[in-house]
């Protein structure tokens, strides 16, 4: 009887879980569906399959510029925030010192601040300093909001990392840099790559900060934003959006696999020595 009841309870929960996943994915799935639809407005019934919206994409110079800008900004932001993330994550996981929690809190703060506040406060300072808005200022903003994510990925990768390995390396005569390169780095490499991918994805998808901090150059989300004003451009935007979705999906999947790989690796090693 209890088994029956438990099955029913679980059944309800499983059904709910299934519906919830549908709720999460359904809206997103409409983008690819209508990006291959012949009609210019996204409505049912579907009128027919076409790839013409995709074929038009490479013939739009403004779009190609935006894609290139996004790539430049994304790569720069990913590298910068991962480097800063490595330093901070290493310091947090390896050392104990006063003020450690407060500093960590400050670095993680952009995660819980309304984005508009981050964007306009940066904008004010940049204008006050007389700097001109450009892709560089966008990178500055993206790094700020990416560091918390980079930190999360990296601290997970650095935690459980066995310090005795590094000590052994130092005892065996390896220099500090040599130890880092030959012992630490190989252990945490998956976490670092995962952080790079996560930060790149954030930068690629980020709109608001880029919108405020860019000069005349558009990134892909800004380009999309501009196109949204024209109803006739919607199918092209849907096609571009689908490609962006696919890119984010792919990057995050790889990042997740690497992250898990990293976690497993440090845990196993730790287990051996514990």
């Amino acid at each position: 009887m209890t088994a029956m009841r438990r099955f029913l309870a679980n059944g309800w929960l499983s059904a709910y879980a299934f519906l919830y996943v549908v709720f999460l994915y359904l809206p997103v799935i409409f983008l690819p569906i209508f990006s291959v639809n012949t009609a210019a407005t996204p409505k049912f019934p579907l009128s027919g399959f076409t790839l013409k919206w995709y074929e038009d994409l490479p013939r739009t110079p403004a779009l190609l510029d935006a894609a290139w800008n996004s790539l430049v900004v994304g790569v720069s932001a990913a590298i910068l925030s991962t480097v800063l993330g490595i330093l901070a994550a290493r310091s947090i996981t390896r050392y104990r010192y006063p003020g450690r929690r407060a500093i960590n809190g400050l670095i993680m703060a952009p995660l819980v601040l309304p984005e508009i506040i981050v964007a306009i406060s940066l904008l004010l300072v940049i204008l006050q300093l007389g700097l001109s808005l450009s892709l560089f200022t966008v990178v500055l903003g993206h790094v700020l909001v990416s560091i918390p994510y980079s930190m999360t990925v990296l601290t997970a990768g650095f935690e459980g990392f066995d310090r005795s390995l590094e000590e052994a390396s130092a005892d065996l005569g390896e220099s500090a840099f040599g130890t880092f390169r030959r012992v630490t780095l190989p252990m945490v490499a998956p976490a670092i790559i995962s952080s790079l991918l996560v930060c790149f994805t954030i930068s690629l998808d980020e709109f608001l900060i880029a919108f405020f901090l860019t000069g005349t150059e558009a990134t892909l989300p800004i380009y999309i934003w501009g196109q949204l004003r024209f109803a006739s451009k919607l199918p092209g935007v849907l096609a571009l959006g689908t490609l962006l979705l696919a890119a984010s999906f792919l990057l995050m999947t790889v990042a997740e696999i690497l992250r898990r790989h990293a976690a497993k690796r440090t845990q196993n090693e730790g287990g051996l020595y514990a």
Partner: protein, 305 residues
Amino acid sequence: MTAAAEGSPAFGMTRARRNALLQSEPVQGFALISPTFLYALILLVLPILVVIAHSFWTQNYLTIDRTFTLENYRIALTEPIYRDLLWRSLYISLTVSFFTVVLAYPIAYFISFHGGRHKSLWLFLITIPFWTSYLLRVMSWKVILGYNGVLNSGLMGLGVIDEPSTALLYNSSAVIITLTHAWAAFAILPIFVSLEKVDRTLVEAAKDLGDGPIRSFLRVTLPLSAPGVISAALIVMIPTVGDYVTPKLVGGKDGVMIANAIQAQFGKASNWPLGAALSVTTMLIVTLIAGATVLILRTAQRLAR
């Protein structure tokens, strides 16, 4: 591996020891974190201080008059338009965080208690839509709720309605639906983490002592997972108050929020000090509400025990 290798162990040892003496742990740790710390100081703390300073100044056509004034705050708090926008932003963000948390709890519970071997796969499945562009997710809701959109055409096709409904898009409900969807994953993770920490033997003990599944859930699991619920509510509420994209794309006139007004002050209206005062007010109100939420949920947690 010859002469150099023979000499280096002893040398390395003394140097390591000297380093340990000269560079204490706190110094090394702080030195290591300082670049990131400085970055956050210069690009986050300093800018916010500049915003706070601006909020006490006055825009004088193209220049800024730097005499201290509270006029901007008077405008922000008493002008009906800004007051209404602040209230609406608060109402929307509180509603959104309520719905995201209520919808997220069962799924977090399901994954934590019944996820079995597939826990991480479930988490991955649920978080991945969150990693896709926020702008695109909002855009897809515009496609769904629009006059010529998916929902209208679908409902007409099914014969539920005769003509497209205009009630779906461009109002605060559209903003609430879109934000609830956009922030769903953000609520699941903290709740899941706190559920994972719930000691399973306590739940079993409650059952052994005669509590049914519902009572043991209400008296053991729910109170123990309250920290996760609190952080989920905050992590959704704080950023949604200042959301700009969703009200702009699906909110229409009735769904405008405070971020849109802030943006206008830095754009077209070109009144930086007023924009700054609106930002500071928003931050303060968010902090107050966040504090109040923590207090209320903590009290509820204590009462539940």
